[in-house]
């Protein structure tokens, strides 16, 4: 694990588009994620806060991204994310890995409910707002490796 996680100077040629979706301006997690990706040798394409679905899709196509990381901290994620997976499919990159993290619903729901809601919308993994970046980075490497996208080592 340690070898894989540390930034050993080599780039794995992994590219992640990240941004905060909708009318959400929470920038802190976004800035920390970007820095964490860099330090792990992954190329971040940060479209920043207040990003539309179209901006995510366009950026993913332009940069040939391996994954899209959507953040949503302000509770509107449910409205903002509907149809994103379908848009990716329409544009021919329906199989791109897609994670979401943040404060994902209004009101208190069980984590199981929240997770199911977003898995059903087509996200591959769902994270709460206290997840350390490293956890998602490890998951990403695992998912990419399972999908055969990364040569490894």
């Amino acid at each position: 694990m340690k070898e894989q996680n540390g930034n050993d100077g080599e780039q794995d040629d992994i590219t992640v588009v990240l941004g905060v979706i909708g009318s959400d301006v929470h920038a802190i997690g976004n800035q920390i994620l970007e820095r964490a990706l860099e330090e792990n040798g992954i190329k971040p394409v940060n479209i920043g806060v207040m990003a539309s679905q179209e901006e995510f899709v366009d950026a993913a196509i332009e940069t040939d991204a391996d994954a899209i990381w959507v953040s949503s901290l302000y509770g509107h994620g449910e409205i903002d994310c509907r149809g994103l997976r379908e848009k990716l499919e329409e544009r021919g990159i329906g199989d791109v890995i897609m994670y979401i993290g943040g404060n994902l619903v209004i009101g208190k729901k069980s984590w199981e409910e929240v997770e199911k809601l977003y898995l059903d919308m087509g996200f591959d993994r769902v994270y709460s707002s206290d997840t350390q970046p490293q956890e998602a980075i490890d998951d990403l490497r695992e998912d990419l490796s399972a999908a055969g996208d990364v040569s490894g080592g």
Binding site: G22, S23, V25, N30, Q31, R35, M50, N103, I106, G107
Partner: protein, 485 residues
């Protein structure tokens, strides 16, 4: 746009702009300011924010105020009524939804529609513009405490027109504090100009004998903001508001967690505001203060969240802040239930009431911290005035361009993001990188020394990892993020 100056907007210009603002969405037509003045004058004393704050300030009490807003008016009244009766909130908010904050009234309308259909709020606040003046008044009249609009709207002109005509007696925000932390692409020139309009509107009501309070948003990005950074901005917004005729200011500060720094911050905020307002001839403008309970990440566990909430209320009470903005035990989960919101209020009420007669004793450490904040703010604002050649508005724009004013972790591209804050060994927020902040050499040395000491204690170089650790720390019960042992 002609170049921005800190000058009272003449009547004609203001009225002309009004027409444009009020015609930008149908509910704007409901606004009749003369009639609104009458409406305010017939409101019961209970509804007047300025009265409540003045009274608390004189009695050295700390009042409690929650954040709360839902899509539909009946549910809003119900929610706020609950927070008042069950939560014993002294002051009420109407938190505005994120679409309205972006002037996306069509989306807000859709949110209202979907909320009606689903029977639950799909908006994270109350879309006051869509609902209009009459419904705002219905809300105000249903409640026995003053109501303030709390939001995060760079262009809040129409929102201000509607909520103030609607009987709200307090309006949060400012051209810096509701732009830099809340927007990505809005220029400061535009937002400062738009907030001159808001302040001018408040000044109009004030000139007609209607007391309206104005509150710049103190915590900014809410995470590791050094007091001098947020104080400089709060004082600037106070000066800009005063020029437009605002007479009552509540200046804010977001709890950082170190008690001595937090008390020093609230106490100096009052001192600095008075000093700069008086220097500019605004002696008749009143200043009260607000401390925001911990704005960073919260523990998931509710019992632990109650601890964080209590510590915020303790800082507010010991610093004699005029009011405290209250967090809830659901904070980590997103938007709280009304019961959780009331619980946060009750915990905070218990603390501020238990600590009513206490304050933090003067000590050498407190004095040093206060001196430091005052000197930093004087350094920063001195440079802002120079950059503006005496004009605070022009100076603000140029200061952000050059990084003389700079907010950590802000989303705005008009912010340099050159400074990097981190905690010292006692948990006080210091600077790891100064960017272009114009701080004296000895002050820079002081901060560098503090970060060096932390590095020594933790056996690592001061750096970005400390910042990340600090941000995640509270969820693990810590203020300062120490490396894992």
């Amino acid at each position: 746009m002609e170049s921005l100056k800190n000058k009272f907007l003449p009547k004609e210009k203001f009225e002309e702009e009004s027409k444009e603002v009020l015609s930008s969405w149908p509910t704007g037509a409901e606004v009749d300011r003369e009639e609104a003045v009458e409406f305010h004058k017939n409101l019961p004393d209970d509804s007047c924010m300025v009265d409540k704050l003045t009274e608390a300030d004189e009695a050295k009490k700390t009042l409690t105020q929650p954040r709360a807003g839902v899509a539909l008016p009946d549910e809003l009244i119900d929610l706020l009524g609950h927070l008042r009766t069950e939560g014993e909130a002294d002051l009420l908010p109407v938190t505005i939804d994120s679409y309205t904050r972006q002037n996306q009234y069509e989306k807000a309308a859709q949110g209202i529609e979907e909320s009606r259909e689903e029977g639950r709020s799909l908006l994270n606040g109350f879309p006051a513009v869509n609902h209009g003046v009459e419904i705002c008044r219905k809300v105000v009249e249903a409640l026995d405490a003053p109501v303030q609009a709390r939001h995060g709207t760079p262009d809040a002109r129409l929102l201000a027109e509607i909520t103030l005509a609607g009987g709200f007696t307090d309006f949060e925000g400012g051209g810096i504090s509701y732009n830099i932390p809340y927007a990505k692409d809005v220029s400061l020139e535009k937002s400062l100009r738009d907030w001159q309009y808001v302040d001018r509107l408040v000044g109009f009501y004030q000139s007609q004998g209607v007391e309206i309070n104005r509150e710049p948003f103190g915590p900014l990005t809410g995470t590791l903001v050094p007091p001098a950074v947020s104080h400089s901005i709060a004082v600037l917004e106070g000066l800009l508001a005063a020029e437009q005729g605002v007479k009552h200011l509540t200046l804010g500060y977001g709890q950082n967690g170190n008690l001595v720094q937090d008390v020093a911050a609230v106490e100096t905020l009052r001192v600095l505001a008075r000093q700069f307002l008086d220097d500019e001839g605004y002696e008749d403008v009143s200043v009260t203060t607000v401390l925001h309970e911990w704005m960073g990440g919260f523990p998931q566990d509710e019992a632990k969240a109650f601890g964080v909430i209590s510590w915020g209320a303790s800082a507010a009470a010991l610093a004699n802040a005029t009011k405290v903005i209250v967090k809830t035990p659901h904070e980590a989960e997103g938007i709280p239930s009304r019961e959780a919101n009331a619980a946060g209020l009750k915990t905070s009420n218990q603390i501020v009431s238990m600590l009513l007669d206490q304050s933090l004793e003067d000590s050498a450490g407190l004095e040093k911290e206060k001196d430091l904040i005052i000197r930093e703010v004087e350094d920063i604002l001195g440079r802002v005035k120079e950059l503006g050649e005496g004009d605070w508005a022009a100076g603000t724009v140029r200061a952000f361009e050059s990084g003389v004013l700079d907010v950590p972790f802000a989303p705005s591209r008009y912010n340099q993001s050159g400074i990097l804050p981190a905690r010292d060994n006692e948990g006080a927020v210091r600077y790891l990188e100064f960017g272009n902040l114009p701080l004296s050499a000895d002050i820079q040395d002081f901060h560098e020394e503090k970060m060096k000491k932390r590095g020594e204690k933790e056996g690592r170089q001061p750096g970005f990892q400390m910042v990340t650790d600090d941000i995640y720390a509270i969820g693990k019960g810590r203020l300062t993020g120490r490396p894992r042992g």
